[in-house]
Symmetry: C2
Subunit: 174 residues, 2 copies
DNA sequence: TCTAAAGTGGGACTCAGTTCCATATATGGA
DNA sequence: TCCATATATGGAACTGAGTCCCACTTTAGA
């Protein structure tokens, strides 16, 4: 819906009123459904985050934390890869649009908070120890690798498959 | 100047007009000097990025890329640590304010672009190969570690010193 | 002292997002 | 079937950030 407009004319060039016109709803109704224009593209953030956390919790207890994170990302990148060219187009739009890139990073920050307790546990950190940067660091690193892999995947015609790119990205730092 | 107002009443609660009133300038003049309200706090982004890049370029040629990045961050964390309590307060404001946190991450994204060529070179990547995610991944990981260390440093009264925290953060992933 | 350029301010404008209130449309019970 | 009560929708006015354009003033250089 709104995505089509964004891809046609660009995100900044599309006003909320344009979206409302196409969807045949009022501005009031729009802002009842979406907290902001950006959020039309980031609806499933919470669900996806929870699914990722579930996947991480399900990893073997003895597995190294970094390997567990890598493993927990398999469902996510499969889901993205299944989206094919549509997901790539969306990715490129996000990368090219400052406001959307910002919202994307905010999503990552949210996921970081969500995963922190489980990663901290796997690292053997004191629960609630705000002075221990390790869990945050490891999740942020993993997210950085994921984003780097996604960007390479989306912005290159002849890029490798997503799992290969993610392995390449994550191996550089381990 | 504007920082004081933000620390007093909060960022969202301070309007550009408030800042103009205190600085005794007009809105026009304000927006001639700062592209946005957020940017009153992120003036030296380009300079700091360039200094970081210089520090990285100055690292020994044979050094491992990850170690070179760690070493190149020494001047930066020294500078931040020298700021002491003022920097911590600012850090906490940024972390607690979504719009400022977003601007902070945007700064990181800018630095990532700035460092990419040099890191790619040190990784032996093909110049301009957008399908190689390694440089982006490594820089994003380093920035994630830096932010985790900064957050731990700023938000805990009895936190260790910044270099120790950064080492702890970066070692978790290497 | 004159002149050009740079700095400053005023004011109108667009658009996102908020708030409050009025109206319509379901839904469930008597 | 009818009524009462949510719940969804729309309208309208408002705030605040950011843009644009034009007028005025200050500064600097010849």
């Amino acid at each position: 819906m709104a995505v089509d407009l964004f891809l046609e004319r660009g995100f900044e060039e599309t006003t909320v009123e344009d979206i409302c016109a196409r969807a045949e709803i009022s501005r009031s109704t729009f802002f009842r459904y979406f907290p902001s224009k950006e959020d039309t593209l980031f609806e499933r953030t919470a669900d996806t985050g929870r699914a990722w956390l579930d996947a991480l919790v399900a990893r073997p207890a003895g597995e190294q934390p970094w390997a567990a994170l890598r493993g927990s990302l398999d469902p996510r990148i499969e889901q993205l890869a299944a989206g094919g060219e549509n997901v790539k187009r969306l990715m490129r739009l996000i990368v090219a649009t400052p406001a959307l890139a910002a919202r994307h990073r905010e999503k990552n920050a949210y996921w970081q908070e969500l995963l922190r307790p489980e990663v901290a546990r796997r690292l053997g950190a004191e629960p609630g120890d705000t002075a221990d940067p390790r869990a945050d660091a490891m999740i942020a690193a993993a997210l950085g690798c994921l984003d780097a892999a996604l960007k390479a995947w989306a912005s290159s015609d002849r890029a490798a498959e997503l799992p290969v790119l993610l392995d390449r990205a994550m191996s550089v730092v381990d």
